[in-house]
């Protein structure tokens, strides 16, 4: 019996010109882990909202077809009833955690079900142990970090032992380590609870290796529903923006794409391209096209032994000394709480160092994590000058007349960038961006990377996304506990790692410093021809 069954589901949001879902049909068996792929606006989130009953009960609109969840028809059962069988985790943990302490938050879904107090206490304790958050149980939720909040929200989704778990980009706010841990944890919990899991995600390379099935959506329709390897083969041919870097690497060599690093390495090994005796096994041989770090004499931005300490003694930055040359493109990486955002805020003078000094050659523009915070006018044209809008690719006159909040996520990001760059009297010498790729699909990330490469100013980006770093950065600084622990070219910093590494680098074991599929292909192609 299927846990989720959609039959000809078509749905339009109130006032929408086009349906968000169109004739969607699918079946999900217990214990299955399904990855939902697709660009922004393809219908992934709406499909999840159909499965938890928010569509149509919460959002309204026009609904046709039938959605059955654990035997409940969502037309007859609202989200409150469906919640007995379904656990949902949305993207932003801030708005999902509603109680004062972690224990109360985990208890709420069980209390809503009218469970007796001992069952509530046991359920909260067990899910906390399963998620490794038992030490947080009595902490106030207002004091938790983004990663901790995400785990607590996941705990609240799982505490009722749901038959179906729905997750909407759960790793978008997590660093690579926490993201990988979360996906592995989901796999294990799904097996333990025999629950079906539907995971909507943009960073497919992170989760396809764990999945049983991948479903691709485009313009509200299911366009592919297949096991991960077949899905990747389809993506390489039909939807390159959904193909993972590993799949692009293998496909470029004429091999069948494989999901996950392990499978990709097996494929390469089977073709004699990876192993102890092959030419790239050493990892350091034939360093390929290293992107040189530009070290200019003058600094566009300089941190001189900068410390940032909080009232209660916690140190966020520990004597950070570094400088950015004019026009240099630098990525700052590190775990959640490593001090990346604080570093950027110091650069833009939003914070004052406890000790040390920050100097710059001119204005520093800062784009914070939420671009919507910058939008205060009624029309796009009122937010920034035509020149600034054209610089970020928003020159279309029709677009300029739209309301800023009606723009897509990527457009809002670019508009906010135009706002911070828009000063005719003093052009920015440094542009800082804090997690600019959160929730962005691969195509939009590529567009943003290209845009950053075109800017004349130095660029400093705090990000968790190694693929994005490989696409735009000339230099990578890895922060650990408030101080730089690595500083070098992307191939030096990202090629040899496990978590802070691109999928290509992980597959090739850091060989040749190759970070992107194209670089991997250049490295492997000669040997493949010899081998072939």
């Amino acid at each position: 019996m299927s846990v989720l069954s959609l039959d000809g589901v078509t749905y339009s949001y109130p006032g929408a010109a086009a349906p968000a879902l169109l004739e969607v049909g699918l079946e999900l068996a217990p214990g299955e882990l399904v990855v939902l792929a697709g660009g922004s606006g393809s219908g992934k989130s709406t499909l999840l909202r159909v499965a938890n009953g928010l569509v149509p009960h919460f959002h309204g609109g026009v609904f046709a077809g039938r959605a059955t969840v654990a035997g409940m028809d969502t037309r007859d059962h609202g989200p409150g009833e469906v919640a007995r069988a379904v656990g949902t985790l949305f993207q932003d943990p801030e708005t999902q955690v509603v109680m004062g302490t972690v224990r109360a938050e985990l208890a709420l879904p069980l209390e809503n079900r009218g469970e007796p107090a001992p069952a509530v206490a046991r359920g909260a304790e067990e899910v906390a142990l399963a998620l490794g958050i038992a030490d947080l149980l009595d902490r106030p939720t207002a004091e938790l970090s983004g990663g901790e909040l995400q785990r607590v929200a996941l705990g609240a989704a799982l505490v009722g032992r749901p038959q179906l778990i729905l997750l909407d980009e759960p790793t978008s706010q997590l660093d690579p380590v926490a993201g990988d841990e979360l996906i592995a944890l989901l796999r294990r919990l799904g097996e333990d609870f025999d629950a079906a899991i539907v995971l909507a995600e943009h960073r497919l390379e992170r989760c396809l290796g764990f999945a049983d099935r991948a479903i691709a959506m485009r313009a509200g329709r299911v366009v592919c529903d297949a096991p991960p390897a077949e899905f990747l083969a389809w993506a390489c041919a039909e939807a390159p923006e959904l193909a993972t870097p590993g799949a692009r690497l293998l496909s470029g060599l004429g091999l069948a794409p494989a999901a996950g690093v392990k499978a990709a390495r097996s494929t390469l090994r089977a073709h004699g391209l990876l192993g102890t005796a092959d030419p790239i096994a050493g990892g350091a041989s034939g360093r390929l096209n290293p992107r040189k770090v530009r070290r200019a004499g003058d600094s566009a931005l300089k941190f001189d032994r900068v410390w940032h300490e909080l009232d209660r003694g916690r140190v966020v930055l520990r004597g950070v000394s570094l400088s950015l040359g004019p026009g240099e493109r630098v990525a700052v990486m590190g775990r959640n709480g490593a001090g990346k955002s604080t570093l950027l805020r110091h650069a833009a003078r939003l914070m004052r160092p406890t000790r040390g000094k920050v100097t710059s050659a001119g204005r520093v523009a800062l784009l914070l994590q939420n671009p919507t915070d910058y939008l205060v006018h009624e029309r796009v044209a009122q937010e920034a000058s035509p020149t600034a809008l054209a610089t970020v690719g928003l020159g279309d006159p029709a677009l300029r007349e739209r309301h800023p909040r009606d723009l897509s996520g990527g457009e809002k990001q670019r508009l906010a960038l135009a706002i911070v760059l828009d000063d005719p009297e003093q052009a920015a010498v440094v542009v800082c961006l804090d997690e600019p790729t959160r929730g962005m699909d691969r195509r939009r990330k590529a567009e943003l990377a290209a845009l950053l490469c075109e800017l004349d100013a130095a660029v400093l980006v705090a990000t968790h996304d190694p693929e994005f770093v490989a696409a735009f950065a000339q230099r990578v600084i890895l922060l650990g506990d408030g101080s730089p622990i690595a500083d070098g070219s992307p191939s030096e910093v990202l090629a040899g790692g496990t978590y802070f590494a691109t999928e290509t680098a992980r597959i090739l074991g850091g060989a040749g410093g190759a970070l992107r599929p194209e670089e991997g292909l250049s490295l492997l192609a000669p040997f493949f021809e010899v081998g072939a």
């Binding site: 938890n52 009953g53 928010l54 009960h57 919460f58 609202g78 989200p79 409150g80 009833e81 919640a83 007995r84 379904v86 949902t88 949305f90 801030e94 708005t95 999902q96 509603v98 109680m99 004062g100 302490t101 224990r103 109360a104 709420l108 879904p109 209390e111 809503n112 079900r113 009218g114 469970e115 007796p116 107090a117 001992p118 509530v120 009595d138 106030p140 939720t141 207002a142 004091e143 609240a156 009722g160 805020r345 833009a348 939003l350 204005r363 523009a365 800062l366 784009l367 914070l368 919507t372 915070d373 910058y374 939008l375 205060v376 006018h377 909040r405 706002i419 911070v420 828009d422 000063d423």
Partner: protein, 290 residues
């Protein structure tokens, strides 16, 4: 200001008793009108806050309460015509007309302001020292949805404060002329509505819409601790003293036509009793970790 569990007798008491204790202090502030007695209520609340380790939170509330108290005093002095002792003649003012400031109206305004300060501090003590999740559990038996809405409102305050800080930071990053207050208000309102929708959706998928009452279990019969008993006794004593003093006419303040500020033995005794009753439960710190 948020609730954070601390090692104190008030935090150790059950939420129902903590609520009753705060309500008793608030009731005392409402039924007593003498400045000495009201001052004693404020001292009692401040002492309770220090004893609970939330003194800093109370100081923060005081920063808001004091200007409000002064405003109440000023408005009362300007609009109330009672009293015989004129201390300033402001002449014919627009809207207010002929305005004389009297000592009686000013002192009466100060007493009202003091009462407002006492009530705000009481609310601050409640917010900082009483677990809102326990309060929710307490009231859900009567009205689950209303209790959850009230708790959510408390929870949304720090969340919206964080949103406001974020919005402020983003506006500081804008080059050129800053946007007007109206534009900022509009942007903030849109953000608040988005937040509210997200929270509502999150609550729906946690089963809020189909919430049902839990059966009364063992937890409902948890035995009362000594902190529960002492704070309950303290609350009872404060209410009895406050109501008793009111009925007996002790500590009653008057300002029309002349000032009557109770400063006699009865008034001082009421004030001393209030402070003693309010602080007595904090004397027992056995078992409270330091």
């Amino acid at each position: 200001m948020i609730y954070r569990r601390r090692p104190s007798p008030l935090h150790a008491a059950r939420a129902g008793v903590g609520c009753t204790y705060c309500l008793a202090l608030a009731l005392a502030a409402l039924v007593l009108s003498g400045p000495v007695a009201l001052g004693a209520v404020v001292v009692g609340i401040a002492g309770a806050a220090v004893g609970s380790g939330v003194g800093r939170e109370l100081c923060r509330a005081l920063r808001f309460a004091l200007p409000l108290g002064l405003l109440v005093m000023a408005v009362n002095a300007l609009v109330v015509r009672d009293g015989l002792t004129v201390i300033a003649r402001l002449g014919d003012l627009p809207v207010l007309g002929q305005t004389d400031i009297t000592l009686e109206a000013t002192v009466a305004g100060a007493v009202l302001g003091l009462r407002a300060v006492a009530l705000i501090l009481c609310a601050a003590l409640y917010t900082a020292a009483i677990d809102p999740d326990d309060v929710l559990r307490l009231f859900r038996r009567f009205s689950f949805h209303s209790a959850l809405s009230a708790t959510l409102a408390t929870r949304m305050v720090p969340l919206l404060a964080r949103d406001a800080r974020r919005l402020g930071d983003a506006q500081r990053c804008r080059p050129g002329r800053p946007p007007s207050r109206v534009q900022l208000m509009r942007a903030a309102s849109s953000g608040v509505l988005d937040r509210a929708l997200d929270v509502a959706a999150a609550l729906e998928v946690r089963g809020y819409g189909a919430a049902r009452r839990a059966p009364r279990g063992a937890a409902a019969n948890t035995p009362w601790s000594r902190h529960d008993l002492t704070f309950a006794a303290s609350a009872l004593a404060i209410v009895a003293l406050g109501v008793g003093a009111r009925v007996a006419g002790l500590a009653r303040f008057g300002s029309d036509p002349a000032l009557h500020v109770p400063m006699g033995v009865g008034s001082v005794a009421v004030a001393t009793g209030l402070v003693a009753f309010a602080l007595a439960p904090f004397a027992d710190r056995r078992g409270i970790e330091r």
